[in-house]
Amino acid sequence: MFEMLWRKLRLAHQRKKTPVSRSRRDLSPNLEANLTAFQEELGASPDLIIRRLTLGPRPGSAGALIYIDGLIDKQVVNQDVLLPLLNEGNWGKGQDVTDLLGYVAQSILAVGEMQTETELRQVVQGLLAGDTILLVDGQAAALLLSTKGWDKRAIQEPEAEQIIQGPHEGFTENLRTNTALLRRKIATAGLHFEEMKLGQRTQTAIAIAYLKGVVNEKLVEEVRLRLKRINIDYILDANYLQEFISDAPFSLFPTLTFTERPDVVAAKLLEGRVAIFVDGTPVVNTVPALLVENFQSPDDYNFPYYYATMIRWFRYLSFSLAVLAPALFVALGSYHQELIPTPLMITLKTATEGTPFPLAIEVVMMGLVFEILREAGVRLARPFGQTISIVGALVIGEAAVTAGLVGAPTIIVIALTAITTFVVPGLLGPGIFLRLIYTILGGVLGAYGILTGMLFTLLHLASLRSFGVPYLAPLAPVIPADLKDVLVRAPIWALRTRPRLIGWPRPQRQPFGFAVDEEEKGEDGHDKG
């Protein structure tokens, strides 16, 4: 026992040391040596373009322009880099410069963003990020010209988060585009971005965004800290980060929210949250996350409050149905028949007469069938997807009932859950899991089993925190002031305070009421999403 423990501890210790820092290597003054070094580093990749050229006033010194095909904007490189460099007239005034690179940078190139680097690895990094490198023989430095430009997707409405009214734009895979989208929403100097690179091999750019003055500084510090602690090989999506920095890595429930919508992120920042952008993915995480956020949709704030409130209630109802309906059905059908009104009971009995399996098995089985059909429908190419749904719905459901394998009520319940699950997309995973567990519990111990499961879930949820904020807030602990945006969706002018536990450094959004004389509306267009 002790030995095992000791071994584990030692392993953990070793783990900590693993990030190997490669030896630092500086550029040499010799151009050829540098070029060889580059080729060594990157291999003989065909997309590595090395364009030799002569720089400076006659006779000039040898130089090279290096870039990676596909990562740069050819237009920029040709027009703004190559053309000025090759135009002999440009060199007229620089007859006696010693620092050729500096002169080029200062007076010749028509590129906005550039920097000088002396270390090989940094230069290679820049190269791989889409910079164009300018090397000059005799100088142990390189000029990194920002000529990034690659094919990217246009701004579209995210498919997973459709809304009816409101802005129809979504984030793209490009970090810069995304930050710009956010800037367009919040035009205040308080919007700060901080960038860092994560992932040993992918060197993915990560940006955190927050609204200074509204955000709790400690929260930003905590986010920074957690991000820095990450030691990972590669990051391809926001979820990679999320599994690292989430408070409860084993929980079914997500303690970070994700969205592809700039308006949602803007609203969250305005509540005092922090957003985490990951380059290469349109998904943006915001923290701290609360359970109730999953039940809020941007449309809630784009529609009149009474309608939004009603819709929100339907969402709560749908989620409870999605999670509980099969379990309750099983519990009622195989334990608590006395609770069913008599006529319904007789109808149910007629419908299930002669089915061979216990109700619990029937429901779990049909539930699995449905999940598989759904997964198949998602993965398959669209034309196949339709076939799948027809086969699934008609053949399996209908035939199973006529063959007497399952009762028709089971199919109805499964169909109901199938639809209601999708009303709250943020909790799709937990919903399916809980449904399965509750159904089994309901089949084993009836309503008592379901209650045990629900208490377990409640305790678990109550023990969760997301970046210090209780996950169940404002329901447990109850925060009456915040219920205005949870139980109902109060009119926008009444949503005058930010969520207590998140926006406490600046709790008030605006003075109460809908008086027009305060022209503060610009800042508080809408609330969370």
Binding site: K8, L9, F250, S334, Q337, T342
Partner: protein
């Protein structure tokens, strides 16, 4: 939260998985003792209680739904003769519970009593005392207190066997019918809960509706007629429908029905429809003599007339009202006379006293039967006619 180091996290991990494991062990080890599948239940809709032919024990009869027969009767399983949608089962035993359990020998499925709606009790059982017979239904968790209690002189099976009319199962029909008692107000439906409540009131006597079968066009049909009076827990006598309504007037439970009488001074009858009625009963004790004041208020409307006179004039209305009050008073008096005859306080005068003058009740309760018989009862009926229907006078007058 964040201070957990790597080793800690790993330990956390297997601890967490252990919790899940525990949950699953719990799920799969504890298992399904009380599970009873819907399709394996024999849903009992009605129960009957009788003495075994020999004597001592009880014979319980059940009316069980045959669910398969209810399902789309048109497309029933290819050509086989159509079975009735229920099954009648009898079993007997020394106590009710044992009789019910003995039914398991005959039924392939477990009897499920929670949905039973009516309990038909044979008069012989009622005459011997209902407490031992009904104890099971109160004690056990399956039958409900909302069970309707009925008395019958016949074998309860006859009732279940009767035609159910528009319903599938006669028990369901009886239950539905009892809930519409106010259309006639000539029976007093009693749920098990009400029965227990009155039994516990000690001085109050219970009443149970009486059901019997009649032959109608070659078919048996059930029919309600009158009320059985249960003194203590034993059946002592019956009230006819009119007396039953007399009882209902006093209890303030007449919520409908019609009342027919001769139009004063004219040849022919008038039928009034009762809309609402209410009653106030005050019981006073003076020198250990009981004075009861019953005030009944009735609102009704003219529903039918067989005279050729115009009854819609105010003074005709007045006359009708007085006449109606007299008739109601007569009904109450008839009920009172019967109750005095049986010495059974079916009106709950004792209960009234118990609530309002508990000391007096405690003094008198021991000899309540005598006090009840000797009580002076003052009846006041205030009848108001408020409606005429759609016409004023008869077509031809």
């Amino acid at each position: 939260m964040t201070k957990a180091n790597d080793a800690g996290r790993r330990r956390l991990w297997w601890k967490k998985s252990l919790w899940l494991l525990l949950l699953f062990i719990m799920v799969f080890t504890s298992g399904c003792w009380d599970r009873r599948e819907l399709e394996n239940l024999a849903v009992v809709l009605g129960m009957g209680l009788n003495h075994t032919p020999g004597g001592e024990g009880y014979e319980v009869s059940f009316q069980i739904v045959r669910a398969a027969q209810i399902k789309s009767p048109g497309v029933s399983s290819g050509g086989g003769e159509k079975m009735r949608p229920f099954w009648i089962l009898r079993s007997s035993g020394p106590t009710v519970f044992e009789a019910i359990r003995n039914a398991t020998f005959q039924s392939s499925r477990r009897l499920f009593l929670s949905h039973s709606q009516v309990l038909v009790i044979n008069e012989a059982v009622a005459r011997e005392g209902l407490t031992p017979a009904l104890d099971f239904f109160i004690r056990d968790h399956e039958p409900r207190l909302s069970l309707w209690l009925l008395l019958t002189a016949e074998d309860p099976v006859q009732i279940f066997d009767a035609s159910a009319g528009l319903e599938m199962v006669s028990s369901q029909a009886i239950s539905d019918l009892l809930q519409q008692y106010h259309l006639t107000s000539k029976i007093r439906p009693v749920r098990l809960a009400e029965y227990v409540r009155l039994i516990m009131a000690k001085t109050t006597a219970n009443t149970l509706p009486v059901i019997r079968t009649i032959e109608n066009a070659g078919k048996k049909e059930f029919y309600f007629e009158g009320t059985g009076v249960i003194k203590g827990d034993k059946l002592v006598g019956f009230l006819d429908p009119i007396e039953t309504r007399g009882l209902l007037w006093v209890l303030g439970e007449v919520q409908g029905g019609v009342i027919t009488f001769d139009v004063p001074g004219k040849k022919g009858k008038a039928t009034l429809e009762i809309f609402t009625s209410s009653s106030t009963v005050t019981v006073q004790v003076k020198a250990d003599k009981i004075h009861v004041k019953i005030e009944v208020q009735v609102r009704s409307g003219l529903g039918n007339q067989t005279t050729y006179t115009d009854l819609s004039t105010p003074d005709q209305f007045k006359k009708l009202e007085t006449r109606q009050a007299e008739v109601i008073k007569g009904e109450i008096e008839a009920a009172l006379a019967k109750a005095r005859e049986y010495g059974a306080d079916i009106f709950g005068f004792g209960q009234q006293l118990y609530g309002h003058d508990n000391r007096a009740w405690q003094r008198l309760a021991a000899d309540w039967e005598r006090h009840f018989r000797e009580a002076t009862v003052e009846i006041k009926v205030k009848a108001v006619l408020v409606e005429l229907g759609l016409t004023t006078r008869p077509v031809l007058d």
